[in-house]
């Protein structure tokens, strides 16, 4: 349980080595590099945005290519593949893979251009479709649509709106002109929206007929580029054939493109590796752009955990011409915080981190948090079977995916321990899928109710039978939790050389709250209410009241010690002592341990009872099936909702009640310069 001590790192190196040096630091991932150092006359920062842009562009096009591959040649991924973690490569393997860089970039641009062609070809399909549809009314017509007539005659080919027939057309022509007997009308096809017609007349009537047709809302047939071959117009039927042929060719080409793209499917891993390579380089250039460098020298400042620095310094000096210095940080420096804990406590580091990392002078609370975290989670979920399920699932996943990313691993470890605690608590309070043992015994084996209830007796007692006892137990656990927090506060004060504060803010509160609690337990009314059987003697009562009064006086006198004015100080002290009410509400807050624990077991028994009612009313086989069905669905639901509740409220008890006593946080997270890659990581032993 500790905040890792840090060393201040200063490296002065040759400018020509800077890239290899940074690559080395990046692979080690143990040093945080300052990026907000100021320039001075000789040492300047250089602009790297041009290079960065190239890297970003490359990453972008490679990711596009991966997406294309995923679309045409999807890779089967297991449901749990996200747990697998990044693959580890050695520096040599990575170097070998990098020789393929240019080839991979070429492949990528190949994939992208194949896809572009595919997309363009696909985009042309609707247009061809439309052209074809426009030609359909004319498909039985034997002349090209742009036919305008012979030497003596003139023809108009086009459509009239609506369905019409020869008779109507001639009537209309007769009304509008006087040469309708010299017009030949040929209807080619008709449907509900339009009629395709060819009008033919003598050249001499061309202008007049054109005007008449205009008044009849005649539209000329579309002249289509697709209906032209080698400068000669085709008849519609031919044109349709031609479009079909074109579309078929395009579709064949698309298929060919797809298979070509698929052919690159096995290059995926190479592409991923090069993406990671460019990502690392991009990060590296980010850092280079923020370093102070002169013509020949580059200066790197940063922090390294004390545990790593000697190894790092030796490795650096062996590999490069440089001077590196590791010093203890000055007391007022904003040193980044990294936590390190044993396997039991480290899973809850994330819980601590998501509140806030320890600030100056604060200890890492992970150890006590972890202990209470598991216990509280167990008390709230409080079902042995649920605990076994959670612990088994987490345990199996942890065992199966050894290479899991750190954050994920810790979450599973945390729930693994939570699951174990839940199992233990479940057996202590006699809950296994609620009351499934007794429910099954009653439903299928006709065991009487009383005997069934004794089949899986609780090790201690069943909270459903005696909720008050459980409530008292929860308050006691809560008081221990709060006092632990107070103890940490005292420890911190003593460690920071403020033993008086430890007495004023810690010891007096122990005496005041502790005295009051014992005093309350001396009252028969309280013991009766809490269902406690013991009675404390008058001596205990006297001692506890004295202790409480000393504590109270101490708080009144010293809680306002910042004020010089005694009147003000006492007023503040009294207000401080009023804080006892917050202890009351804090302790009451632990009643949620009981409430959520009861919720789990009661809802379990609701489902068991429902399953029993349905299953018991049916013949045996059907009954068992129905029982199992209701049982499985009900318990999945109950487990999900109560695990969520237990998780949320365990966090709350830590953040509000526990941290409220001693912890402010405000530390800055240690963010080493490392490989922030997606698919691979490169490891170098030093």
């Amino acid at each position: 349980m500790a905040v890792m001590p840090m060393k201040r790192m200063t490296i002065i190196a040759m400018r020509r080595d800077r890239k290899q040096l940074l690559e080395f630091l990046q692979r080690q991932g143990t040093a945080e590099i300052d990026t907000d150092t100021e320039e001075d006359g000789r040492y300047k920062k250089i602009d790297v945005s041009a290079q960065k842009q190239i890297f970003e562009k490359n990453i972008h096009s490679m990711e596009d290519a991966l997406e294309v591959l995923e679309r045409f040649d999807p890779q089967k991924k297991g449901l749990l593949s996200s747990l697998e973690g990044r693959k580890t490569l050695t520096v040599e393997e990575f170097g070998r893979a990098l020789t393929k860089r240019d080839e991979v970039l070429e492949t990528v641009s190949c994939i992208n251009s194949l896809y572009r062609e595919y997309a363009q070809s696909l985009a042309a399909v609707p247009k061809a479709q439309m052209d074809k549809e426009a030609l359909y009314p004319w498909k039985d017509f034997d002349l090209p649509l742009d036919f305008t007539g012979t030497r003596l005659t003139t023809s108009f080919i086009g459509t009239l709106t609506g369905r019409t027939n020869l008779e109507e057309i001639y009537v209309c022509l007769g009304e509008l002109c006087d040469f309708s007997d010299q017009v030949d009308v040929r209807i080619i096809s008709a449907d509900d929206t339009s009629t395709a017609v060819m009008f033919t007349t003598l050249r001499t009537h061309e202008r007049e007929l054109s005007e008449v047709l205009h008044r009849m809302n005649f539209t000329k047939a579309p002249s289509q580029s697709r209906a032209v071959e080698d400068g000669v117009s085709l008849a519609p039927a031919k044109a349709i054939e031609r479009i079909d042929a074109q579309m078929q060719r395009a579709s064949a080409r698309r298929q060919q493109l797809v298979s070509e793209i698929k052919g690159y499917g096995d290059r995926r891993d190479d592409i991923r590796l090069i993406i990671d390579y460019f990502r690392m380089r991009s990060d590296k250039y980010d850092v280079i752009g923020k370093l102070n460098q002169s013509d020949h020298v580059v200066i790197i400042h940063g922090y390294v955990p004390e545990a790593d620095y000697s190894k790092l310094s030796r490795a650096l000096e062996a590999r490069f011409d440089l001077a590196c210095e590791f010093a203890d940080p000055a007391p007022d420096e904003d040193v980044p915080v990294k936590l390190r804990n044993n396997a039991f406590a480290s899973p809850v580091e994330g819980v601590v981190k998501s509140y806030s990392l320890p600030g100056k002078g604060e200890i890492d609370p992970s150890m006590p948090v972890s202990l209470f975290y598991y216990i509280f989670f167990g008390l709230m979920l409080s079902d042995a079977a649920y605990g076994i399920i959670i612990a088994t699932v987490c345990g199996v996943l942890l065992k199966k995916f050894k290479n899991m990313e750190e954050g994920m691993k810790r979450t599973f470890q945390m729930f693994f321990y939570c699951g174990i605690a839940t199992t233990v608590v479940g057996f202590i309070f006699g809950s296994f899928f609620g009351d499934v043992v007794s429910s099954v015994a009653q439903t299928f084996f006709n065991v009487p109710k009383d005997a069934a209830a004794r089949l899986l007796p609780p090790i201690w007692f069943n909270p459903l039978d005696d909720p008050i006892k459980m409530l008292t137990f929860c308050f006691a656990v809560g008081l221990i939790h709060l006092f632990t927090g107070l103890g940490i506060l005292m420890y911190q004060d003593i460690k920071n050389g403020k033993p008086r504060d430890a007495v004023y803010d810690g010891l007096f509160w122990y005496m005041f709250v502790g005295g009051c609690v014992v005093l309350l337990l001396c009252l028969p009314m309280i013991t009766g209410m809490l269902g406690l059987t013991f009675t404390l003697g008058a001596g205990v009562k006297k001692i506890s009241s004295i202790v409480a009064i000393i504590g109270f006086t101490g708080i009144v006198l010293f809680a306002g010690r910042d004020s010089k004015n005694w009147g003000k100080r006492l007023a503040k002290g009294l207000y401080g002592a009023y804080g006892i009410t917050s202890y009351l509400s804090d302790v009451l807050s632990y009643s949620r341990l009981l409430a959520l624990g009861l919720a789990t077991s009661v809802i379990s028994s609701v489902f068991n009872t429902m399953a029993g009612m349905v299953g018991g009313a049916m013949p045996l086989v059907a009954g068992v099936i129905m029982y199992a069905l209701i049982f499985v669905i009900g318990h999945i639901l109950n487990l999900a909702i109560n695990a969520l509740g237990a998780y949320v409220h365990t966090n709350r008890l830590q953040y509000v009640e526990f941290f409220g006593k001693f912890y402010n946080g405000g530390g800055r997270e240690f963010t080493p310069f490392e490989e922030k890659t997606k698919y691979y990581k490169v490891k170098e032993e030093i």
Partner: protein, 158 residues
Amino acid sequence: MSMGTVWALLGAALSALLAGAGSAIGVGKAGQAAAGVITEDPSLFSKVLILQLLPGTQGIYGLLIAFITLTNIGIMGGSADMSVQKGMLYFAACLPMAVVGLISAICQAKAAVASIGLVAKKPDQFGKAMILPAMVETYAILALLVSILSIFGVSALA
């Protein structure tokens, strides 16, 4: 069958009804906000889902109170007969969960919606975003506790 059973059943029904309605409103509201966030960033699904579910617990607590009342008054098998006074005691015992469940679920939904907005902007602050709506739930839990203890107490009476 006496009026006592009617009163007791009324209490059980109210606790499932009001707390359930509150949770339905709450989860619905939070779900709308969550869906909005997912349109922007689908990877936040698991986080906003947890926040959406937070106002859902009141409905469960309501169900719980309703169920232990039903088993205690003998509706679920056994003889359902009791005095009017005892029935009204059960009714009163169910009220905290019914009323507080309804109101706290709706209020918790408001906090949950705000927290979903917080997670949308700062996904790394999920831990804090989760605690804010959970503070509201405290009062639902206290009401649940009072109702449970009262029902157990009433059933122990003659």
